[in-house]
Amino acid sequence: MMKITQRAELPKGREWAIRAAAVLLSIVFAGTVIAALGFDPIKVFAQIVNGSVGSQMRLNQTILKAIPLTITSMGILVAFKMKFWNIGGEGQIMMGAMGATYAALHLPPDLPPTAMLAMLAAASVICGGAWAFIPAYFKAKFGTNETIFTLMMNYIAIKWVTYLQYDLWKDPGSLGFPRIAAFPPSAVLPKLFGIHVGWIVAVLSVVLVYIFVNHTKKGYEVTVIGESVETARYAGMNIKHVMIAAMLVSGGLCGLTGMVQASAVEKTLTYSLSANYGFTAIITTWLGRLSAPAVAIVCFAFAMLIQGGAYLQIALLIPASVAEMIQGIILFFVLGSEFFIQYRVSFSRRAARGVA
């Protein structure tokens, strides 16, 4: 007979040991699958590492993927800290990108780049924040379920941007091709050390979110509300107010991701711009246990997996789906290990004997 019982709190060391064991197991398991497909698992793993950090160019590619993931994760973190399940990162990225694009295409192109980029960033934060404000307001006012609400708003945002791209904002000079006009040069993020300055935005977002959560009064209120709404009420906090403020920050950060991607990577607005970062960020935030530095590290590891997986295709002619499968396996094990951190599974033969 198998019995599942809830564990008392584990020491931090044991917790991380279980997680490390899960990662190790997932690598062994993924290796077995790779071997079964007829590839050499050691080579494959080596190539993932090689492909993601093996040369300056590859490392740059990895960082390019880590940037949007990190900024979005920081946004998600602020909401999750309050146990406000913001599944709407995708939509907030899209609306942020839309705001930035509107500014880029309507402001005079000969503005100094600093002013131009500041306007773009402001527009993206406002639009992303506004998109997040809607579900936050409804939850604060009517107690609606934010999970479904934010999720559904993703699709509205994506379809809206698709509509912009195919119709409203279609570039007349594109010869009928469904695309929006490219940003003027002054609206493109410059590069520093070979990578666009979005990496500075990402690093800053980690530092600022860390300070916000751990060292500000608002951040303290967010944490208390996340732990116990009743206690927050007892302490005299204005829960609706804090909830809306935190969601403005959360959506604003996701919106900023949209501006970075539109300005530095796409140099325009496309309906595929969010590239699932809004969803992947949920996973990275959760795996990083809502701690800003830990989440940043997880984001980089995820970017390595994405980039290394893409490299596998070229280097070993392994289909990209194998890399995705490896990602899936690692996720499955690591998320699965949370179950063993919270519960103990024990087997007993004696209990089956019943009444003697």
């Binding site: 008392a8 060292h215 302490a235 009444v355 003697a356």
Partner: protein, 504 residues
């Protein structure tokens, strides 16, 4: 020589690294009322849950009527005639007594009403239980619900009854009735185990007592041959001074006045019905009443946590009704509140002591940043002065014991020198030593000139500690009495709403 009904020997049960029971021995005879006495966390419930098949022991053996048994589920235990009556009733409100009795029983799809009614009647008469088989559970008072629970297990053929804290929800009159039922069962040769930590009741009802302390059985004594003090010593492990001082403080002024306050609960029913009273400085005003008589609503309405439907609440002459806790803090009103649900409302379980102390302070800090420094010092001072046992002030409060958790909460609330201190069941779940420490702290507050509202459940304590006792029944105040001039039975009558009186 009576037959042994239950013999448990060498029982050990651990949850993780915590040994809830360690080498526990218990022998209960047929026709005996056996009390299982111990503080919270001594392992009483764990032991009884093993007897009713909810847990299985790690080691040790259980004999029922001389035969060794191993239970894999509560079904096995019921089959052997063991019935447990839990503290929280497991009844279905919308069904009748009869339906509650037969539910989950083997037998035909249709239960034949007449036979059943006759059988229930017979059981009721036999044991002196007062239950109407066709009454819906929601129409029953607590005492009748409990009688129904007892019939339920008797109907299933139980000869061994376990009652977990049966008197917690009853008035003194109902307790008397329950005791006579228990004595009837004893007469019929049943074995009765009663779990409790109320000493008075133990001395009154039991034949023998087994004392548990920290998961071990300390010993079994014959009730007639022992006095209360040595019993406490066995229970606590050391001598405890069990006297509550009551000093008279002069110069009372009115601090808090409620005027016809009515509060609706979540189902829009009146939980508090035009309640009016005054809390003065330098007094402890006790609130007595059976559970759910409106105590929670009363405290939360004063603290601004639930909106009141009607009425006014004056604090130093200012009406605070309708103000949120945040607004009350901003008005500069010094009020402390120890809610019933400490970890769910008063404290943040996952945060350390410092961050729980900050909870009441941070709003007064200037700027956007949180200043921890002064709160670390304050936390250390509170830990020192209240002798809170903790590895450090940076330990999450949920890792502390119940008594220490309560001290953190109380320490924070009294640190601001509140003028009014509202406390809801401040000693619930605490051991005897910690409880007396809390009473002392409340007395200190009173002597300092604060007005203390003390919602309690133990009438003996209420009468010893409080200057006045206010009795709530079904959301109404049925009386405010001077505990020195009335008896426990008088208060009991007020609790049931049979009598009403106003004085003091």
């Amino acid at each position: 020589m009576q037959d042994t009904a239950i013999q448990m020997s060498g029982i050990t049960k651990s949850f993780g690294s915590l040994a809830a029971n360690e080498n526990v021995n218990l022998t209960v005879l047929n026709g005996e009322i056996h009390a299982l006495l111990g503080e919270n966390g001594a392992g009483k419930s764990t032991l009884m849950n093993m007897l009713s098949g909810i847990y299985s022991p790690d080691s040790g053996s259980i004999f029922i009527n001389g035969k060794e048994v191993r239970f894999s589920s509560p079904k096995d235990s019921i089959a052997l005639g063991i019935g447990m009556i839990h503290q929280h009733f497991k009844l279905i409100d919308v069904l009748t007594a009869k339906e509650n009795i037969v539910i989950g029983q083997k037998g035909g799809f249709f239960t034949r009403g007449k036979n059943l009614t006759a059988k229930i009647k017979k059981l009721s008469d036999e044991y002196g239980l007062d239950v109407n088989p066709d009454k819906k559970v929601y129409d029953m008072p607590v005492g009748e619900k409990q009688a129904l629970e007892i019939i339920k297990v008797l109907y299933r053929g139980a000869r061994i009854l376990i009652l977990d804290e049966p008197t917690a929800v009853l008035t003194p009159q109902e307790i008397k009735k329950l005791f006579s039922i228990i004595r009837n069962m004893k007469e019929k040769g049943c074995a009765v185990v009663i779990i409790t930590h109320k000493l008075g009741e133990v001395m009154e009802i039991s034949d023998r007592i087994t004392i548990l302390r920290k998961g071990r059985s300390v010993g079994t004594v014959v009730t007639k041959e022992i006095e209360v003090p040595p019993l406490i010593e066995m229970m606590v492990g050391k001598k405890v001074d069990l006297s509550i001082k009551k000093s008279r403080v002069e110069g009372k002024e009115d601090l808090l006045a409620l005027d016809e306050v009515t509060v609706l609960d979540s189902e829009k029913k009146q939980a508090l019905k035009s309640v009016s009273f005054t809390l003065r400085s330098g007094e402890i005003l006790g609130v007595a009443g059976v559970a759910k008589s409106g105590q929670k609503e009363l405290c939360e309405a004063i603290a601004g946590l639930v909106p009141a439907d009607k009425g006014r609440i004056f604090f130093n002459g200012e009406n605070i009704l309708g103000k949120s806790p945040g607004e009350i803090i901003k008005m500069g009103i010094r009020m402390g509140f120890i809610p019933e649900d400490r970890l769910g409302m008063g404290l943040v379980a996952g945060m350390d002591i410092v961050h729980n102390i900050i909870l009441k302070d941070y709003q007064g800090q200037k700027g956007v940043f949180l200043k921890r420094g002064p709160c670390v010092k304050k936390a250390e001072r509170i830990v020192d002065s209240l002798e809170i046992l903790t590895p450090s002030v940076f330990t999450p409060v949920k890792k502390l014991s119940g008594g220490n958790i309560q001290k953190v909460l109380l320490g924070r609330e009294i640190d601001s020198n509140p003028k009014v201190l509202i406390t809801a069941y401040p000693v619930r779940g605490l051991d005897i030593g910690a409880s007396y420490k809390i009473y002392d702290l409340l007395n200190e507050q009173k002597e300092r000139g604060a007005g203390v509202l003390f919602v309690g459940e133990d009438l003996d304590v209420l009468m010893e500690l409080c200057d006045r006792v206010m009795v709530l029944c079904d959301g109404r105040i049925t009386g405010i009495v001077d505990p020195d001039t009335v008896t426990k039975e008088d208060i009991g009558l007020l609790m049931t709403g049979v009598a009403e009186r106003r004085q003091a």
